[in-house]
Amino acid sequence: MAAGLDAAKVGVVTFPGSLDDRDAARAIRLAGGQPVALWHADADLQGVDAVVLPGGFSYGDYLRAGAISRFAPAMEAVVDAARGGMPVLGICNGFQILTEAHLLPGSMVKNEHLHFVCREQVLSVENTRTAWTNQYTPGQRITIPLKNQDGQFVADERTLDELEGEGRVVFRYQGWNPNGSRRDIAGITNAAGNVVGLMPHPEHAVEAGFGPDGADGLRSGTDGLGFFTSVLASLVRA
């Protein structure tokens, strides 16, 4: 890693019911960044350069997934920072929070088949200009874990056409659409490309021995690491 990357601080917000905050912090560290633990009740983002909203079941998914987290003090600060251009990544429940906060369009409803799904999922990376995907190549296939119950991405046709037309569909499910998401959409970005949300979990595929099965053998997959090296690269360029 280049020396300049050492200074990049990436915050991870923990909400009541977050599950994957520590895995997200670990992924940031493995990519060469400095993870910073942020607390949902604290509006102070501690000078971080980027923020990850991790997966889990914040506030028990009561009301709607992500609906109550949206109003946490930390989220108000994240929304302001995101509008100012700070890179923000929402993973799974974090993606749901981003849609509830209106940083990304659409919403997630229960999986079409009604079952919780947990699998290693193949995605295509369709937009490599975002803060979180610039280290991938256009059309690259990656395999990362997917685990959710409310993962069906929905939006009206006009919004879907806009997302497609503006190249804001960042990830699409390949092989099988695991939750009935419109147009096989697994993840999207805002117009500026600094805010990205997706249902699958890149932070669980960052270290050989602990990820999905890959070309180099069982548990060898590290396809998710590129999210975190991408944001560090975008911060160096900024």
Partner: protein, 95 residues
């Protein structure tokens, strides 16, 4: 004490997976006449004192900002329960 009821339903164009599960279970109990089920949410908001027009307006605001997500849901009712209690609360046939 006053009470405002807010009812929220999934938008017609959004597939309602929970309703789909329920409609699949009904025939197993012999309820074969129901061809569709949609499942929504009912909130009961309590206030000190009467339900004034201001209270109803605040409930409407809460309904569209927090209690529902306009991308996937419609607010179908915001009502003072006491005002129409005779019609809706006691007509369940339990008496």
């Amino acid at each position: 004490m006053g009470r405002v009821v807010v009812e929220v339903m999934p938008k017609p164009e959004i597939l309602d997976p929970q309703g789909k599960a329920v409609v699949g279970a009904l025939p197993r109990l012999g309820f074969t006449q129901f061809t569709g089920v949609r499942q929504g949410k009912r909130f009961e908001l309590e206030v000190e004192g009467d339900v004034t027009p201001e209270v109803l307006a605040a409930a409407q605001e809460a309904a569209v900002t927090l209690l529902s997500n306009p991308v996937i849901e419609d607010v179908v009712r915001v009502a003072d329960v006491a005002a129409d209690a005779a019609g809706t609360v006691t007509s369940t046939g339990l008496a």
